[in-house]
Symmetry: C2
Subunit: 759 residues, 2 copies
């Protein structure tokens, strides 16, 4: 669902350099790592390393290629015949590979368009094409008979005609600027540029500001000719390419809009459409830049601010009007079935501790990159693990491989499955490992920070397909070079991978943020030419030319993900470096202090500027821009409880990590009980960070450390209850959530303390 | 010559806010300022204020409009009939207004094109239009019979065909990046984007890197549709608009290329063309974006780095080839006459102290904005001063009004005049006040920092035509708002105008940087739509719509410049706040410390990255980019002598300013001699900052504090002998210039000390 390679690029650009890469990190991967493996005793590590060699031998780039070609040969969106066929194909494969596999079906609300139109009706006339024609050399681009036309699922029905306003990316900041420029969207249709946050926030904020319709276009500066040569010459978005996508309000909850918090099983009690809060209230359509250009060219009014101007060969104006647009969206609001493929390999020693691995299989059209590039790597892993099992091997803990349906409309397959099996998952799931899109380039890993060293060790032990150095070394090298070249902050010198916090945009969300299951999300990217996100041109022919032509990065993803699965399943101790988590929370807490202090200073400065009346004289009288609104004063917040909890957590973490390392190296059998006690503590450790009340206004999100931003959607907000309260100037709520977060951190620390308490 | 309004905008965007604008600054201008006027006793200030009221009454917006319309009615470049006619028109006017006026003529090398061609010869064929067609509603755009075709004066003759390479703005950094990407310009023609420094550096650096020809194009992102609606709908550059301009190497010396350091009088000894170092070695032509588009579209090779991509609707590639281009430039290399208009009003009390005011009158085509907008303000001032004289008033010091010819090709008129009269100017010139283009908006003032408070007081006393507050208040308000909105560093809280350092690009250069005459440069701008710089569309019809429709900013410029002239001519003490200068030099010195320290840290980091071999693993194997070259280590520089001189200067300045203020307020007649001694010291004070050896490799530039950057051209480099030596890693030279600069500062301080020494 999410343009992971793009986000990776952005993050890489932000990241800083390590002061010194360790020589170990820079060396070529050892392939077998016998000495240093999180959670393993030395002897167990040697066994694991040998297992991983055999695992690698079971991976095949050619198979990944064949699977992708076949699975992307027809449109495979939710409800399509090929979507179901792909699930059934995987079911057969999993069973063939020795897994205990089944398909779990849910019935979800999934509107599909039956009548769409976008027309410029004044001052001239133009009818938007709203479709993606075949391109030369792309075999599937002609096979669109069964494809849905480009649309934004969960937008409202409507047929409206109104003046057009250009609102840039349609963020809160953009509406503030429009307000200062004297432009209102009330009763108008907005045209908004993709980028700057979750797509669904664009119509949501437009609606909240009074707009009656929303067109979202792909600007060529962002992923078209401004980014590189367009398809089929290069891999970037051609003029008619459209970014489809969901506009459900996933900041409230993910999954079927009609069954929040429960599985969308046949008999489940469902909301009416009117009751479902994640459905958009206004019609929305995505359009290509070929379709957007005449609309934007017809806009008058002021010239847009410099940062709002895109790559079209015209002057971007704000409007409103004289461009007047008709927008028509009528959909079939039926329920459709989705097909999750679930495959289990039962653990021999700790069967009730589950290591879950997932990727989705549904796409917007053919979905070669998104999601099949990740899904075929997952299939490779399942086959290789199956081969190990066929040779008599059994995992210590249970391994569950999943391929989700309905991720694109809103993480439907994963969410409904998680909600259906919530109690069991809370009891048994120790780790969820997600991937989505994949391609040539550098590894990117996001997740809970206690897993950082674990993930880094795996990255150290897998070789980059093209350069010969380890995947970790490439990542660290890029981080250092980008920092040197002015792209980011220096890293922490740990020699570990930078680990991003998890927001949303793929199937880890219900696991982590709803249930509190420790999660990782990963993939390679940044060296692809990927400008066809969510279009019909995200095809096999595109991927084999511009994604990962040799599928060696698909194999590399399987090696990394497979190792994460195998090590988590086999380790004597589940992975955890508590100090990494505690220190990260310490950094987040410092950020909150700085956020509040910065806002306080800024509000005071604004007060002074308003008192001095400088905004009037500073503005161009021919283009007046009103002063910003005066802001409420920023009080000093009651951070003490949080600061105390962080300090205490750091101490607990330090003690825990020492004991953890001792238990890893302890060869005496007597430690087995202590290990079991620690594993029991670790399996559900992340759940101590939940609060049943959830986040303000969105109770479904229960994780107190990580959430998708209510105003960003994809981007993670850390300590979100406090951070967003500060950002939105809800001071009482900020103070309230200080207490709630401190409570969660104390629970986490107490769990660590208990795990190492004398028996 | 210089796009002043653009630079002003850029500067305004950089500037920070004052912590608090004084209420005085925010108040409406008092019109008459009786209480606080730099260099005046209270009683003299009252007289001066009344004089300024009468001066203002002599200004007329309608006259400025009429003069501009007539002077811009035909092409008026050097050598044109209308250029001479304009000089003669002004001569008649100055005489009519009572000035002792004459025209001073020089003969300068001024090549004009006789055969130009740009053709794409492979892989397809295209002939560039190379001309600017008429546009609707622009009366003069059809009167181009006498105009020169768009060209870059002082480019070499040639007729070459070679592969094309896109080099972005053609800066040193750009060539380093090309080198890392494996692209050479050797034997090729470069196509380079306008912006990022003085135009003449583009072919110079291209030549130094082996290129055989140079095309400079105006990218629509910069001043075309990316900036705003294009002419005639808006004021920005239309597709066929071309930026003409000089490419002489003005970083060596300005003026006639054949007579460096001496006036280009009929009998002057001249260099041969081969000897003239400021002539370009390769052919160069400026082209429009309509002409550039097919050339850029025909380029292959790698995609240009993101920051290099412009506003055309195509993917910018680097080349080389397959685009192959023919570039032909053949010129008439005759000498042409230039006509400086010089008008004097002899001082009654101190006739041998001159206050000089200048603007140029030559243009590239019609030149409504550049330079006539400033020139008609200057004419207004001369008329109003003439009216005062007709009523019997005589200035205390001599006032000299000048209108230069030949500024566009390289400050020819001003430079030749300054070089011809160097000895007399060094003895008599106390201040040179320059303007060039003008338009709606905020005031911008650049100059020697001892004049900052003087200029600020004038800005305080002139009202902004549209908002009613003072010109100073608008500037300070904008500075504060822009800093608040993230645009710049906070200002110093003095309540004075931000004062930029003088680089080059207009006629102050020979005065300040060659002779050491205290200088100011000023104009209004930033609220115009000015994208027609150096094109045939810089016309009266353009200016009356998008420049300064009411000409009230022309009147405001006359009020500010006239006050600067009158106060400098009338003040009992010439303007000087030595502490402002000393503190500024202190800031420049701190910058040098930071520059060297930053380079040292950066070079060490680079060493470490190279030692660790991270550039290889960090690069995309499909688009390899080599590691940067290892840099020479940055030694600790011998800054002590400079630091000591700055410290000493600050002390001298403090003592001087106290005595200066005492003398201003002293009403006793006995102070007259002390004042005379101080004025004598101040008249040539700036000359203490000269060093006869000049700057490294460019002896003509003798000012040790300000120079145009050798690698920037327009942009000022402060303490240039040291700064550029550091930037270019010439460590011995840096240490050498520490001594030279310290010597100059010590001389400046000694002059201050002497001026206040007991008699």
């Amino acid at each position: 669902m999410f343009p992971a390679s793009m986000r990776r690029l952005a993050r890489l650009a932000r990241l800083g350099a390590l002061l010194a890469a360790t020589s170990a990190a820079m060396a070529a991967p050892r392939g077998a790592s016998t000495g240093d493996m999180e959670g393993f005793s030395p002897s167990a590590a040697a066994v694991e390393a040998a297992l991983e060699q055999r695992f690698d031998a079971g991976l095949s780039a050619q198979e990944q290629r064949d699977w992708m070609q076949s699975m992307s040969s027809e449109p495979n969106h939710v409800g399509s015949a090929h979507d179901k066929a792909n699930a059934e194909f995987m079911l057969r494969k999993f069973r063939e590979w020795g897994w205990d596999a089944s398909i779990e079906t849910f019935m979800v609300l999934y509107p599909t368009p039956r009548d769409l139109a976008v027309e410029l009706v004044a001052p001239t006339h133009f009818s938007a094409r709203l479709r993606e024609p075949p391109v030369e050399g792309d075999a599937t681009s002609e096979k669109t008979r069964d494809e849905l036309p480009p649309y934004n699922v969960y937008g409202a029905d409507g047929d409206i005609t109104a003046e057009l306003v250009y609102v840039n990316q349609g963020t809160l900041e953009d509406y503030k600027e429009l307000d200062r420029q004297g432009v209102s969207v009330k009763g108008r249709i907005v045209i908004v540029r993709y980028g700057g946050g979750w797509r669904g926030l664009k119509p949501k904020l437009a609606y909240e500001h009074g707009a009656v319709g929303c067109l979202i276009f792909s600007d060529p500066r962002d992923d078209g000719y401004g980014a590189g040569d367009v398809y089929p010459k290069g891999g970037y978005r051609p003029p008619d390419g459209v970014q489809r996508g969901s506009v459900q309000d996933m900041t409230l909850y993910s999954g079927d809009p009609l069954t929040p918090g429960m599985g969308a099983t046949p008999g489940a009690k469902r909301l009416t459409r009117a009751e479902a809060k994640t459905l958009m209230k206004i019609p929305v359509l995505p359009i290509s830049y070929a379709d957007a250009e005449p609309l934007l060219a017809a806009l008058g009014g002021r010239v847009a601010p410099p940062a709002w101007r895109g790559g079209l060969a015209l002057t971007y104006h704000l409007g409103p009007g004289p461009a007047k647009v008709r927008l028509k969206v009528l959909s079939d609001w039926n329920q459709k079935p989705i097909y999750d493929v679930i495959a289990t390999l039962r653990g021999a020693v700790e069967p009730d501790r589950w290591i879950i691995r997932g990727n989705h299989h549904d796409a917007w059209v053919f979905g070669a990159t998104d999601p099949l590039s990740g899904n075929v790597a997952l299939m490779s892993e399942a086959e290789a693990i199956g081969k190990l099992a066929a040779q008599g091997w059994r995992p210590r803990r249970s391994i569950v491989y999943t391929s989700w349906d309905g991720e694109e409309p809103g993480l439907l397959g994963s969410t409904e499955w998680v909600e259906t099996h919530a109690a069991e998952l809370k009891a048994k799931a120790a780790l969820y490992i997600n991937s989505d899109t994949n391609g040539r380039g550098l590894i990117s890993v996001e997740g809970s920070h206690g897993l950082r060293h674990f993930a880094s060790q795996v990255a150290r032990d897998v070789g980059d397909p093209e350069t010969g150095v380890s995947v970790l070394a490439r990542s660290l090298a890029a981080e250092r070079v980008q920092s040197y070249e002015g792209g980011g902050r220096p890293a922490d010198g740990s020699g570990d991978l930078p680990l991003g916090a998890l927001g949303s945009g793929s199937d880890y969300t219900p696991f982590l943020q709803h249930l509190g299951i420790n999660s990782l999300n990963l993939g390679f990217g940044g060296e692809t030419q990927y400008g066809v996100y969510h279009s019909a041109y995200d095809s096999f022919d595109h991927f084999r030319r511009f994604g990962d032509p040799t599928f060696e990065y698909g194999v590399a993803l399987a090696k990394v993900s497979g190792r994460l699965v195998l090590r988590a399943a086999q380790a004597e101790l589940l992975p955890e470096r508590a100090a990494d988590f505690a220190n990260s929370v310490g950094v987040f807490t410092e950020e909150l202090h700085k956020l509040a202090d910065g806002m306080r200073a800024s509000s005071r400065e604004l007060d002074q500027l308003l008192d001095d009346g400088v905004f009037g004289p500073a503005t161009d009288p021919s283009r007046p821009r009103t002063a910003p609104q005066r802001e409420s004063a920023v009080p000093f917040l009651e951070f003490a409880e949080l600061d105390t909890a962080v300090e205490k957590l750091k101490q607990s973490a330090k003690a825990f990590d020492i004991e953890y390392l001792r238990l890893c190296s302890a060869a005496d059998a007597g430690a087995a009980l202590e290990r079991e006690r620690m594993n029991a503590a670790l399996t559900s450790l992340e759940q101590t960070l939940l609060d049943a009340r959830g986040l303000p206004g969105r109770a479904w999100y229960q994780h107190m450390i990580f959430a998708p931003g209510a105003h960003t959607g994809y981007g993670a907000k850390t300590l979100p209850g406090i951070r967003e309260a500060i950002e939105d100037r809800r001071w009482n709520e900020a103070n309230q959530y200080v207490g709630i977060v401190a409570h969660a951190l104390n629970a986490y620390g107490a769990r660590l303390d208990a795990a190492i308490a004398a028996q």
